[in-house]
Symmetry: D2
Subunit: 326 residues, 4 copies
């Protein structure tokens, strides 16, 4: 049994993560911390999770060498905690954005802060087992992917290196905006409506581009859904356009060893993956233009955040990748 | 043309009211005030209303004798403004709760403040045309009914004086909770769930009891709906239980002169009244127990707030009751 | 390992049941039958369940003595199948309504058919472990409770025998209406609206009355929710009205040995029980009238149908009651 | 006053159209026909519209020369009725798809039938006033645009002739799928989920391509919304990429005389146009790639169907274009 500390468990992703770890056969919940709601139980904050652990203030002194931690703080606030934890001998999954971008220069540009530990940034492994499984196993810092990049990348990775003119039109449920009540997540704002937001400026854009190795036109939309994220991806294919059957086979082969990614025949809905760590992807070809049309759908709090964090922790701890996730 | 000032137009009810008055053939919008969002247009705050009026700070000096005003401030804050306006010769519809309860002693008990103007409270007319139409015409202060009382009372009024053991189980959309973002109106809290709240303690309880003349067990529920309020009412009938046809005829007769109340044959859904000033009521009899089962449904922002305010203003101004509402 | 046949697995409850059994450590899925969709896998019909079992036509000859079965046919159609199965030595959970009412005379009145096996009806045990746990263990036929009765009864059972003037105002998600597409479950009918239906005539009325031992005024409402059912119950208490703390203690004591019923302090929302076999109940007292106000909330497809069926099968098979349900 | 017959008023678009015409100051409702629900009033079929007109079977003999008609039949069934009506001297708005495609050869390919009246098809005017206002005024047959083309075209028309590599990713509410209950519009299918459908095969694809004059990769998605349609459009711009301000000015100028199209600064949500005949469009530029990102949002039953039909009827009848629509 290994101990995992959840740093920032009052938010949606953190509470989900605490719940997954609380029921996990290999991990024990260590500190479950929050900056609000200290003294309340996780179940009081998130009644759908029957987790009795009490939210406490983070106590670095109480963290032991060889422990694991998952940091669910907002960006710019996570980096310092990750730094402290790593220096103390803790292996960390950073659920925030603070170790996702390879180039430190992108942090001032996209996130508005100077990265305090470029060395850790350089060392961090992008936590997508579908491309980095082995590196994750031994990493000290794993950068858990963003929710939009997760769905988008899974939809396109099998064709990486061959795609240009990429357009990603993504639809996310409101839980993706976090637990803080704002006018934008008021029920009367979200219900019965769809709108694009942060067009051409969303911070997940460089993350998708970095991993897919090409520039991306990314447009997120908020949809009246609680949990769920669908990325509809459009791209030109360099070189010969494959036959549709071959395209599909390329995806099936690519994901053959990746249990959490299901290649499906019909454009997938959110329903099939909600509250699971599964992603479903569906590649199609537009015969008229030779373009790829590929869909990726996930639960933004599971494969898009907490579930993926557990998958990464499983790899880091050397236990089966699906432990606690099926 | 008469001028109507809307005091507190940044909230849901106030913005809807500004929109109704902006399109009203008899009224002209005067001051459209807010304490937040000053300088923005109503349409910027509430894009579904194409109202260009700019939100300003309330300026008592700019209000003229003979004007009308509708005050949409929160309870305890409206009373002072109503007082100032009336003293200046303005006739007021108070959309807040500050003039609804006859007994000043109920204000400290239910609303936590001492009423500053018991004289105006005594003078105020409860703004339900279905019982007080004539008094509204000449009133200086009209207390616009609460949304829950409106639906509940319309469902039971034709049997007033004959009902005991009243249970009102009401279901309201999230817009009833107001525009302020709170955890309770976060999309992820409201969507796909129903819960009761303020059980046995909701402030609309004494208002319903006062108007129906009997004690009431009132339970509000929040439902995943934007606009709409359904009151399901259960009560014993004193004396002989009427035949179902006679019961229905009693309702039809009672509402014969009240265009905005439709007596329907099937339990009404919210759909039929949303974004209208109509209420639908449906009385039924439980033959086993001789009890009344009566449903009342409204749009909480229309017949339950802004629409009713316009209906009252129409009566006060001596124009047709339906003006600007059909 | 015991074999369980799921008869009627194309509907919402049946598919959920097949999924629970497919993942159950003690049970093996036997026949998974349907009258529509034969030849398709469960996952094709219900993509959220990753069940590869293929829907087949029911084959009585393929059922073995000592097997278990759960029958999810519509009422009036289940009775004959249950009869055949029992005669073959199979122990059955009837998820339909066909063995819930003690009095055969109620079937023509409420369900429009004459019960073909009054002997089995007399023998059947009402499948509510919270009152009949021991009898369920040895029953040949267990009548799985209706969804509305489940939530209503759990909310009131600790006070059974002391309640009169019972009003149950219940709110159910659309999945309770079944998988068949009808105008009433069209998205545009259900979304953003609430309405009562089958007022004073719903078939779950006599079932609630039978188990609570008193007449009940029952009003179901459809709410814009997928899965979830909330029963808000109002009743007079015979004899001395208990203190609120004592009332709560009565509930806590009553459910002390029943893990799936949680007595909570605040009126529970659907969120806390969705996709679980838990119920939450919350008893309150109206001091003004001495009436009980009690809430019961369940997932209508879990504790209200498939989850409860598994709980009953666990008892019948002598395995831990929570097996496959946590 | 002119008479307008509504042929096919039991569906969502037809009922909305009957309601608009019932309240129209210039038009009188003539026959209001349906193939189902004959004998019921429109309000019985669609309670949100207070229209007492009774649905009747279509009676060609009862239609007079000089009348107008709007045909809301499904595709392939409308063409024959339009033909009969035109031959009788009636001017028709065909709300179906049967007169939208210029090339008769596209009907067998996309709609599976041979067009019975290529002459009328050649004569029909595409009913988009923003490009064909004058031709609509005198047309005998106006082809009301499809809902997806309406939103997509309005988003791109100001740049028509300069766009290539067009991708339209569109999101429609469930009412766009029509009133017929099917598994795909079951509340439990639509709620809390998003999915693409008819990818690369939707019948609105050639209609968009025809009007924009370029091939289009079109992907429709169903979202958990009742009424509303958002088209997110991506395209390369031939020639010099304009400055963002100039692009916006191009849109403002293009729509200067078109009251129902609002050019807005922020990506528009459905909320702002629901239950109105307004469209909102928002053009943006991706500086990295020089691509246009343009949003168009409408109410699919108003500007996307019935409202647009009234707008066209207004033009045909020579009354103000906005009559009955504000």
């Amino acid at each position: 049994m290994s101990t995992v500390h959840v740093i920032g468990a009052a938010g949606f992703a953190g509470a989900q993560l605490a719940a997954l770890l609380d029921a996990h056969p290999h991990f024990t919940l260590g500190q479950v911390t929050a900056r609000s709601d200290v003294g309340r139980r996780v179940v009081d904050v998130a009644p759908e999770y029957r987790v009795d652990a009490v939210l406490q203030q983070f106590d670095l002194a109480g963290v032991g060498q060889g422990d694991f931690a998952a940091v669910c703080y907002p960006h710019a606030e996570a980096a310092a905690v990750v730094s402290d934890l790593v220096d103390r001998g803790v292996r960390v999954v950073d659920v925030s954005a603070d170790h996702r971008l390879n180039d430190p220069a992108q942090y001032p540009e996209w996130y508005g802060f100077t990265h305090p530990r470029p060395d850790l940034l350089a060392e961090a492994v992008y936590g997508l087992p579908e491309i980095n499984r082995d590196a994750i196993r031994t990493a000290r810092v794993v950068a858990n992917p963003g929710c939009y990049p997760m769905a988008s990348l899974l939809a396109m990775l099998p064709m990486r290196g061959r795609l240009t003119d990429i357009v990603v039109d993504a639809k996310s449920g409101a839980s993706g905006a976090g637990r803080t009540p704002t006018p934008d997540v008021h029920y009367s704002s979200v219900a019965d409506s769809v709108r694009a937001y942060k067009v051409l400026s969303h911070r997940h854009t460089p993350e998708i581009a970095q991993q897919i190795g090409a520039s991306v036109l990314f447009t997120p939309h908020m949809v009246p859904v609680d949990r769920g994220l669908l990325a509809s991806c459009y791209a030109r294919i360099d070189g010969d356009v494959p036959h549709a059957d071959d395209l599909r086979q390329t995806y099936v082969d690519f994901y053959a060893d990746h249990l959490f990614v299901e290649v499906v025949d019909e454009p997938p809905g959110m329903r099939a993956v909600q509250r699971t760590n599964f992603a479903q992807v569906c590649p199609m070809l537009d015969p008229a233009s030779g373009r790829l049309v590929a869909f990726g759908v996930i639960d933004n709090l599971m494969k898009g955040a907490a579930g993926q964090a557990v998958q990464n922790l499983n790899l880091m701890a050397g236990v089966p990748e699906t432990e606690g996730l099926l």
